[in-house]
């Protein structure tokens, strides 16, 4: 959800309960095409579905959208890593939700919970089927996050 400045006090009041950071990262090809929009929309839908179900414990970070070029791994991973590191004291559980296999694998090795999104559905982003699939995808992620808490 989109927090508003006036929600600040509510957010601070929830602090002791919100211990999980969810960081959505969408990586798209360098050449712009409509798939960019679909990829980003897919990530947003899935991550907001997850957040809405677990909002008392999960903080949804601003989604990051990256255009992929040959420097992608050298620049993006350190950037995300420093963001996650900066928040590691605040959030004992840190999860990344991404469509990039390389990112998911790299962060998994670093102890971050990494969810690799299923490919963006072929259906139109406004179609009911697309939205249904985003719910199904979120329902794949949610039990895994809950499982992490119970460990």
């Amino acid at each position: 959800m989109k927090w508003k400045v006036e929600d600040m006090e509510q957010l601070l009041g929830m602090e002791e309960y919100v211990d999980t950071l969810l960081y959505p990262v969408s990586v798209s090809p360098m050449d712009w095409d409509v798939k960019w929009i679909a990829d980003q929309f897919w990530l947003e839908k899935v991550s907001s579905n997850v957040e809405q179900n677990l909002k008392g414990r999960v903080f949804l970070f601003q989604p990051l959208c990256v255009a992929r070029n040959e420097l992608f791994l050298d620049t993006t991973i350190p950037f995300i890593r420093q963001n996650i590191k900066a928040m590691s004291n605040r959030f004992p559980h840190r999860a990344i939700l991404t469509n990039s296999k390389e990112l998911a694998e790299a962060f998994q090795e670093e102890g971050v919970i990494a969810f690799l999104l299923s490919p963006t559905p072929e259906e139109a982003v406004t179609s009911k089927r697309f939205l249904e699939k985003s719910l199904i995808e979120a329902n794949r992620v949610i039990p895994k996050l809950i499982g992490v808490w119970s460990q």
């Binding site: 600040m8 309960y17 907001s48 909002k55 255009a67 004291n89």
Partner: protein
């Protein structure tokens, strides 16, 4: 929590709320829209603000989850349709529709989804529990019962309206 490293909570929240930092340099930020989608989404309006959600005939004494769309006014986006869900069941000829939003901090509760599979609603975020009628179980984090939806049954169809404080829980 140590504040020596990383960021303080206020720094962190300012960071998130204002969207500053290296994010803009690294890519473009996309706004998040709060909503959930359910495969059983149904669209359509009845008289007033009541929305048709499910046929009464399919309801039993066991709560089942149903999705529907409802028009709300949002400070960011103006009037928009939002997707909601309800736990609905029948008891003594009465249809009861509970909001799935936990009264502790707003996670989504499920029916019989706790590790013991009890006849209760369970919130996985901080182990909140509610009885079938929405009454919060003492000793778990929620301090209030689950809200209920306004319910109307017309021509065999269950219509839901606004969420209101739970009136079926005695003394809550």
């Amino acid at each position: 929590m140590s504040k020596d490293q990383g960021v303080s909570r206020r720094q962190f929240l300012n960071y998130c709320l204002t969207g500053v930092g290296g994010f803009l340099a690294a890519g473009m930020l996309a706004p998040m829209i709060k909503f959930a989608v359910d495969p059983a989404l149904k669209k359509g309006k009845a008289g007033g603000n009541m929305v048709p959600v499910v046929d009464e005939a399919v309801l039993t004494g066991e709560p089942s989850n149903h999705g529907f769309k409802y028009k709300i006014t949002d400070a960011w986006l103006g009037e928009q349709e939002t997707e909601l869900t309800a736990w609905i069941y029948k008891e003594g000829g009465q249809v009861i529709a509970l909001s799935p939003i936990c009264k502790h901090l707003g996670c989504t509760v499920g029916w019989k989804n706790d590790p013991q599979k009890q006849n209760r609603f369970f919130c996985p975020c901080h182990n909140g529990l509610y009885e079938k009628n929405g009454k919060n179980v003492p000793g778990t984090p929620p301090m209030n019962p689950l809200d209920t939806y306004q319910v109307e049954v017309k021509n065999g169809k269950v219509y839901l309206g606004l969420v209101e404080p739970n009136k079926i829980v005695g003394g809550a």
